[in-house]
Symmetry: C2
Subunit: 479 residues, 2 copies
């Protein structure tokens, strides 16, 4: 199904996007009537059905609306009517992270496949290259029947490390296979890095809000946390970051400049460079959570902050979970000057890494399948996010605010202040809908009226229905 | 190839073992001549070639020797001439575990498949049920193509936990699937248990010598260690253990009463019960490393100490690595009263466990393949251990001492005092032979003239040659 054309999207989608761009740039003004289906068909030399599909898509995106017996009109998309989440900078103090009692509940709920999952951050299984990966599995077990009969000790399978290193040139780094340690997913990479750099009692700076796994890890390691406010579009407040590292003895800062979870922003190179420079100036190591970078929207793939590292103190953590499937549990870390320590902790903690997932992903990368798959996924995801944004904008209570993600498939939603998202979580669960409440993305109920939505699901009536129901649940709490 | 007969061993092996038993019990005395091949053949109603094979096997085991132009004579096996490693009890003090610089070298060496591996503890790949497991992999990816598209969060795949719980009745426990957490191999189970029970600075009692992974884990966790001497046959000195826990505030003790690594003993039920009682009396938790129990020699499979646990303070850690293949990295823990904490640490550290290995092993267990495979493996391993013992007894320098393992496939060798096993390790490596030096099985050079041999390899001229060379290396250092 591979074609060599520049734009591999179907005709209707190419047409729909062209019109969307006209609306976005104001070339086609809000309230203006669109050409009739027939005239656009002949004008563009496409079939009637292609135009109809394009208009349907535009309507789904909330960009046009039908007027009875008149035709389609451009409209302001719901999502543009919804403001971005609020932001206020502040100068935090280091604190101990408390346990997160809700997390157990969330986990148990997440294991039930009957739920509509707007919770865990994972796209629909249909979006993974399952057929191709299974073909490779068959080949590997044919060619290397005793694939799992030996330990693959850290740093992990050489062929896989080579593929990762080979690609690092493209994003402004130049790893050798020896720089890379294979881990059990991105989170193990981050936790091992934290343990390699800091110890119990040490202060770790993080963006706020931050992926709850980081907070959990800091809690379990007894490290103190310094939550630097992050703007929903421009990221961590660098002035606040610099004040913080001047004032407190910060050992390491965990950052996510690309496709931030949960905020969705992609920072420009200058911001990444500035972050690295501030950290280096104050002798603060950086752990970069880079698991979604490959899923940034737009033509060019952004660089990681690691690309601006000059002294080996930026540790880059990534994973294939978000692109190939989380069940493989294959992540990796380029540990800079902490590499040996990370490798040793990996050995101590689990001795070796499962063989078959490494062999399979290495083959997939070597065969070029990864890049082909990625192109398709990057092509698809913005529409998913757009559709969920549109539905949330339509169904969520007055006063709700939404991020405008520049990559990945996560949406961060600020609900009216009086809505307790833990309660929303439980009420939604009763309706078989899974979300992640904001409370676990920060300490001290900072984000208690927020929630994170997984917009990686294939759009379907069930998903739309779930968002509608979720909106009702939220509205009920909004009183 | 499955047969329903009681003894599934080939005819020659049945015959050989019967004669070996006669020598062992003294029915056939040392120096006595064995029946001629022809007369034994007609007497037993087996072919000439079966008798020849049986005699060959007995000769390989060191139990008979040919006298030219006369026939075969019973002899004292080399291994019985070799004494067991020495043992001295003592009352240890808690100490910090230091880093193990040799470990990095050992690891790097272990990754080279060109070496004759008497190092890592793993049987020959040929001994794993590769064909059957690969068949199941094909079936799983056929029936559940998106096997790896979702997270399997802790505690892990329900079907696998159910199979493990189901078997627990057989060894005197009665777990429910909810008691079990799936981990990345046995060592992750142990490390998570240690972290759930103790913290940096706490005192952890261990048997001495002990599997080096435990020492490493304690070092990386900043816990202090109390090394209770373990006798090569009767295990940890319980009187010393009780004195130690009376004298020092011991949080937890890591034990391996079945197929101890490196000593190979299997303790009787009474000793296990006594250990559990002492621990309970002094409020000490027990972590039981049970990864080789399924490989105990003899008809009956021993119970774990966990079977004598009355208050949930024994944590049982096991794995499929030693029986199905270490590359799957599937282990498990029954955490008793620490279960919730262990599960939560698993989640924090690596979020989920790889899906495919869990699905495959669950299927293998459910289909009954595990027990069939285990019978064959248990049938085979004693011969491997015997063959390596025999060769070591023959080739190692005067004054060497060897354990008499009752399970698993590890042999612990005490060399003459002047032999530095780190040097032996390096010299053997130059000859492409991999061993594990004793130095890493205890602190403070306690076992610096010891080495651990993996006797799980298929017997071959290359393995015999390696043991011969290793003997020469050791002899050279013995001066």
């Amino acid at each position: 199904m591979e074609t060599a054309t520049q734009d591999r999207a179907p005709r209707y989608l190419q047409l729909g996007r062209a019109i969307a761009e006209q609306i976005g740039t104001g070339t086609l003004r809000v309230g203006e009537k669109l050409p009739s289906v027939r005239s656009l068909s002949s004008e563009r030399g496409v079939s009637i059905s292609t135009v109809l599909q394009a208009y349907q898509w535009l309507e789904n995106q909330g960009l046009i609306e039908p007027h009875p017996r008149s035709g389609f009109y451009a409209r302001i998309p719901h999502s543009q009517l919804v403001p971005e989440p609020s932001y206020q900078s502040s100068d935090p103090k280091p604190i101990k992270v408390g346990a997160m009692p809700t997390l157990g509940e969330i986990l148990r709920a997440a294991m039930d496949p009957a739920k509509v999952s707007l919770g865990a951050s994972a796209p629909s299984p249909q979006l993974f290259p399952t057929t191709k990966l299974n073909k490779i599995i068959r080949r590997v077990i044919q060619e290397q029947p005793d694939h799992s009969s030996r330990y693959i000790f850290p740093p992990g399978l050489e062929a896989l490390r080579r593929e990762i290193a080979r690609r690092s040139i493209e994003f402004g780094c130049s790893f050798t296979p020896d720089d890379v340690v294979i881990t059990s997913g991105g989170i193990e990479a981050i936790v091992l890095s934290l343990r390699a750099i800091a110890k119990a009692g040490d202060v770790v700076a993080i963006e706020s809000p931050t992926y709850f796994g980081i907070l959990q890890a800091l809690e379990s390691l007894g490290m103190r946390v310094l939550e630097i406010p992050a703007h929903p579009r421009t990221g961590m407040d660098l002035a606040a970051f610099e004040r913080a590292v001047k004032r407190h003895k910060v050992k390491v800062c965990v950052i996510m400049p690309n496709c931030h979870s949960p905020l969705g922003y992609v920072l420009p190179d200058e911001a990444k460079k500035a972050t690295v420079e501030i950290a280096a100036r104050h002798d603060v190591a950086l752990i970069e959570n880079d698991v979604y970078r490959d899923l940034a929207f737009g033509e060019r793939r952004p660089k990681p902050a690691k690309a601006f590292d000059t002294n080996g103190t930026v540790v880059l953590c990534s994973s294939f979970s978000k692109v190939l499937g989380p069940g493989f549990r294959v992540g990796w870390v380029s540990g800079g000057k902490y590499k040996t320590q990370i490798e040793s902790l990996k050995f101590v903690g689990s001795l070796a890494t499962p063989s078959l997932p490494q062999l399979v992903i290495a083959e997939f990368l070597a065969g070029g399948g990864y890049e082909r798959h990625l192109r398709r996924l990057r092509d698809t995801l913005p529409d998913h996010v757009q559709a969920v944004t549109h539905a949330a904008a339509k169904y969520f209570p007055e006063g709700s605010k939404l991020t405008r993600p520049e990559g990945g498939y996560l949406l961060w939603c600020e609900l009216p202040k009086e809505v307790d998202s833990d309660k929303v979580f439980r009420a939604a669960l009763d309706k078989n809908i899974l979300i992640t409440p904001g409370s676990i993305f920060g300490t001290h109920k900072k984000f208690s009226h927020h929630l994170r939505l997984n917009a990686g699901m294939l759009w379907s009536p069930a998903v739309e229905r779930a968002l509608f129901e979720l909106g009702r649940v939220c509205s009920a709490f909004a009183g």
